[in-house]
C-alpha cells in the first residue's frame, strides 16, 4: 500500500513537473499557430537549442540564472532573425511556412549533431538538485522547482497577455487574425515579435529541462511531438488551453509511464483521439 502511495505521489509531482516543461513548449506553439497559422516545426528546434546553449553556458560560468537567461535571449534572437528573414516572405501561405519550419528542425538537429556530437549533456544547478525527504517520501527538489518555475512563468505570460496592449493584440489575433489586421495594427511586426517570444519560451523550456532530460539531439523531434499533442488537446491558439492541456497530458503520460509502461507510447495518441472525438476544438474549444 505504502509503495503504491509513494508511486502515486511521485507520479503526481513528476507529472506536474513534466507538464510545466510541456507548457513552455506548447504555449508558444499554440499561440504562434493561432496567430500566424504556422504549424511551427521549428519550435522543437528552439527547445533543443535552448537546452544546448544553457548547458554550454553553464559549463563556462557555472551560473544557472545566466544559463537560463542566455538560452532565452538566444531563442528570442534566433526566432526574430529567422522569422524576419525567411518566414515573412511567405506569410499567409501555409504550406511553404510549414515546409520552412520543418527545414529549421532538420537543419538544427544536424547542426547540433555536428557541433556538440551525439553524447547528451547534463548539468546540475547547485542548490536545487538532490532530494528532500518529506513525510517519508523522497521528493526530488528539481521537480518541485520546475513546478514553481512553470507556474510562475504561466502567471507572467498571463499578465502580459491580459494586461499589456501587445498581449491583448496577440491574444485577439490568435483567435481572429483578420480582425487584428482590420484594426490597422502592423501585423507583420506582431508576428515577428510573437515568433521571437514563443521561441524564447521554448528555449527557456529546453534550458530548464536539462537537469532532468539532458541535452540531446532527439530533443527537437520528441518534444515537438509532445508539443503537438498538447496543442491539439488544449486547443490551438489558446493560452489557457495550452496550460491545462499540458497538465492533462503531462500527468496522464507520467502515470502511464509508471503504472502501465507498455502502453506509454499509445497514450498520447489515445488522448488526442479521445479529445478530437469528444471536443474537436480541444479543451478550450478553439480551432485557432
Amino acid at each position: 500500500m505504502d509503495a503504491i502511495f509513494t508511486l502515486i505521489i511521485t507520479s503526481i509531482i513528476d507529472g506536474l513537473a513534466f507538464a510545466m516543461l510541456l507548457f513552455l513548449i506548447a504555449c508558444g506553439l499554440s499561440i504562434i499557430f493561432g496567430l500566424m497559422g504556422v504549424l511551427n516545426f521549428g519550435h522543437g528546434a528552439f527547445f533543443m537549442l535552448g537546452a544546448y546553449v544553457a548547458a554550454t553556458l553553464f559549463e563556462y560560468c557555472q551560473n544557472f540564472a545566466i544559463a537560463l537567461i542566455g538560452a532565452g535571449l538566444f531563442g528570442m534572437l534566433l526566432g526574430l532573425i529567422l522569422e524576419y528573414s525567411t518566414l515573412r516572405p511567405v506569410h499567409g501561405k501555409h504550406l511553404p511556412q510549414l515546409l520552412l519550419t520543418l527545414g529549421y528542425l532538420v537543419v538544427s538537429t544536424q547542426a547540433v549533431l555536428l557541433i556538440w556530437g551525439a553524447v547528451p549533456k547534463l548539468f546540475y544547478p547547485p542548490g536545487i538538485t538532490g532530494s528532500v525527504t518529506l513525510f517519508g517520501l523522497r521528493i526530488l527538489l528539481y521537480r518541485v522547482f520546475l513546478i514553481f518555475f512553470g507556474i510562475a512563468t504561466a502567471i507572467v505570460i498571463y499578465v502580459i497577455l491580459t494586461r499589456t496592449r501587445i498581449g491583448i493584440v496577440i491574444r485577439a489575433g490568435a483567435e481572429d487574425s483578420e480582425m487584428v489586421e482590420a484594426l490597422g495594427i502592423n501585423v507583420k511586426r506582431v508576428f515577428t515579435l510573437t515568433f521571437g517570444l514563443g521561441s524564447a519560451l521554448a528555449a527557456i523550456g529546453g534550458a530548464v529541462g536539462v537537469p532532468w532530460l539532458g541535452a540531446n539531439p532527439a530533443l527537437g523531434t520528441n518534444y515537438l511531438f509532445m508539443g503537438f499533442v498538447v496543442t491539439v488537446v488544449g486547443g490551438m491558439g489558446s493560452f489557457k488551453g495550452s496550460f491545462f492541456g499540458s497538465i492533462l497530458v503531462g500527468i496522464l503520460h507520467t502515470f502511464t509511464a509508471y503504472f502501465l509502461p507498455q502502453v506509454t507510447f499509445l497514450i498520447d495518441f489515445i488522448v488526442m483521439a479521445v479529445v478530437l472525438l469528444v471536443r474537436p476544438g480541444g479543451l478550450s474549444g478553439k480551432w485557432g
Binding site: V232, F265, F269
Partner: protein, 413 residues
C-alpha cells in the same frame, strides 16, 4: 478523338500520338535498355531505388499536391504495405495474391486515416498523423513474433524474379520500344515540313544512341542471359520496378484528368466553395487517401522486394520527409515533379555522401530551405509557370540562327 467518348484506335492515330511524345518514348527506351548499357550493377540498383521512391513520392503528391491534404503518416502506408507483402510471401502466398493483399491494406489504412479527417482539420490532422505513424512504428517494433521486431523479416525472392523468362519479357519490351522508335523516326523524317535544327539534333542523338545500343547490347546480353543468378535478379527487380512505376504513373495521370481528378484539384483550391457547390468534400478526400494509400503500399512492397528485408525503418518518418522533399523540390501538384525530385535527391545523396558523409543531412536541410524560399513551385512547377516564356526565347534563338530554316524565313518575307 473519336465519337461516343471512346477514341477510335487506329495504327495511324497511335503513331501520331507517339510522334508527339517522341521525347518520352526515347526516355522510356533508354530506361528499359539501361541494364544493358551500363557496366555496373550498382547503377541499376540505384535506378531501381529511384523508381520505388518516385512511386512513393507520387503517392504523397496525390494527397498533398492534388487534394491539399498535409499528412505526416505516409510512412505507415509504406511500411504496412511492405510488411503485409513480406509476411504473405514468407508464407508461400502467390505473388499476385500478395500484391492484392497489399493493395487492400492500403485501402483499409486509407479509410482509417481518412476517418480522422472528420474530426481534425488541416494542421490538426497533420499532427494526428504524426502520432499515428509513430504508434504504428512502435507497434511493429515491439511485436517480435509477427514482425520480427527490430531486426525485421527477410523477404524471399518471388519466383518470377529468379526466372530468366522475366528477363526475356523485359527484353521483348525493349525490342518493341526500339521498333516503335525507329518507325517514329522514319515517319518524322519523311514528313513534309522539312528538318529544322531541333529535329536534326534529335536525329543525331538517336543515331548515336542506336549505335551505342548496337555496340553494347550484344556484349551485355550474353552475360545477362547465361548469367549469374544475381545479375538476372537485379535486372528483373529493375524491370519490375520500372514497369510498375510506368504503369502506375500513367494510371495516375489518367485519373487526374478524369472528372474525379478535377474535383480533387478544385478541393485543393477552394474547399469551402466546393462544399457550397454540392460536393461532399469528405468523401472525395477519402477517395484521395485511399488512392494515395494504394500507391504508397505498392511502393512499400516493391521496396521490400528490392531490399530483400523489411524492418521497422520502413515506418520511420524519414521516408515521409523524403517524399515531402521530393515533392517540394520537383514541384508539388505536378505528377512528374516528385519523380524528378526523387531522382535528383537519390543520386545527389549517393554521390555527395561519399564525399562529405555526415554533413549530408545538413546540406540537404539547407538546400531544402533554399528551394522552398526561391522555387516554391519546385523545379517542374516553376518551369510550367515560366516555361512558356523560356521556350519562346529558345525557339526564337533557334530560328534566328538555324541554317536549315533560312529557306523558310526568306519564304516568309
Amino acid at each position: 478523338m473519336g465519337m461516343n467518348g471512346m477514341a477510335k484506335f487506329s495504327p495511324r492515330l497511335f503513331l501520331d500520338f507517339l510522334s508527339t511524345r517522341k521525347i518520352s518514348l526515347t526516355i522510356l527506351t533508354i530506361l528499359f535498355f539501361f541494364p544493358l548499357l551500363t557496366p555496373s550493377r550498382y547503377h541499376v540498383t540505384v535506378l531501381t531505388e529511384i523508381f520505388v521512391l518516385a512511386l512513393f513520392a507520387i503517392s504523397y503528391d496525390l494527397l498533398l499536391g492534388y487534394t491539399g491534404i498535409v499528412s505526416f503518416g505516409h510512412s505507415a502506408f509504406f511500411g504496412i504495405g511492405a510488411y503485409v507483402f513480406s509476411i504473405l510471401l514468407r508464407n508461400q502466398t502467390p505473388f499476385p495474391v500478395a500484391i492484392l493483399a497489399t493493395i487492400f491494406s492500403g485501402v483499409l489504412l486509407g479509410l482509417a486515416m481518412g476517418t480522422f479527417l472528420t474530426r481534425a482539420k488541416g494542421m490538426t490532422f497533420a499532427m494526428v498523423t504524426i502520432s499515428f505513424a509513430e504508434i504504428v512504428r512502435l507497434l511493429f517494433e515491439r511485436s517480435r513474433e509477427l514482425t520480427g521486431g527490430e531486426t525485421g523479416l527477410f523477404v524471399p525472392r518471388p519466383l518470377f524474379i529468379k526466372s530468366i523468362w522475366f528477363t526475356y519479357f523485359g527484353l521483348v519490351i525493349c525490342a518493341l520500344l526500339i521498333v516503335l522508335l525507329c518507325v517514329v523516326i522514319v515517319r518524322e523524317s519523311t514528313r513534309k515540313d522539312g528538318i529544322n535544327r531541333v529535329k536534326a539534333s534529335y536525329f543525331i542523338f538517336l543515331g548515336v544512341f542506336l549505335a551505342l545500343l548496337i555496340y553494347m547490347v550484344p556484349q551485355k546480353l550474353s552475360p545477362l542471359l547465361e548469367g549469374s543468378y544475381i545479375i538476372v535478379s537485379t535486372t528483373n527487380v529493375y524491370f519490375l520496378a520500372l514497369m510498375s512505376f510506368i504503369t502506375l504513373y500513367f494510371i495516375a495521370k489518367r485519373i487526374l484528368n478524369s472528372p474525379i481528378g478535377r474535383i480533387l484539384v478544385a478541393i485543393r483550391e477552394n474547399e469551402d466553395r466546393m462544399e457550397m457547390l454540392g460536393y461532399n468534400v469528405f468523401k472525395y478526400k477519402l477517395v484521395s487517401m485511399i488512392l494515395s494509400g494504394i500507391y504508397a503500399s505498392i511502393a512499400g512492397a516493391l521496396y521490400a522486394i528490392f531490399l530483400l528485408i523489411v524492418t521497422p525503418t520502413f515506418l520511420e518518418a524519414t521516408f515521409t520527409i523524403n517524399a515531402l522533399v521530393h515533392c517540394v523540390m520537383g514541384g508539388v501538384g505536378t505528377l512528374i515533379g516528385p519523380v524528378i525530385g526523387a531522382g535528383i535527391m537519390t543520386i545527389f545523396q549517393r554521390i555527395v555522401s561519399s564525399y562529405i558523409g555526415r554533413l549530408w543531412m545538413l546540406v540537404l536541410g539547407i538546400m531544402y530551405i533554399v528551394i522552398v524560399l526561391l522555387l516554391p513551385y519546385g523545379i517542374v512547377g516553376t518551369w510550367k509557370l515560366k516555361g512558356a516564356s523560356v521556350k519562346k526565347t529558345i525557339r526564337r534563338l533557334i530560328r534566328s540562327k538555324t541554317m536549315f530554316s533560312r529557306h523558310k524565313q526568306t519564304q516568309k518575307d
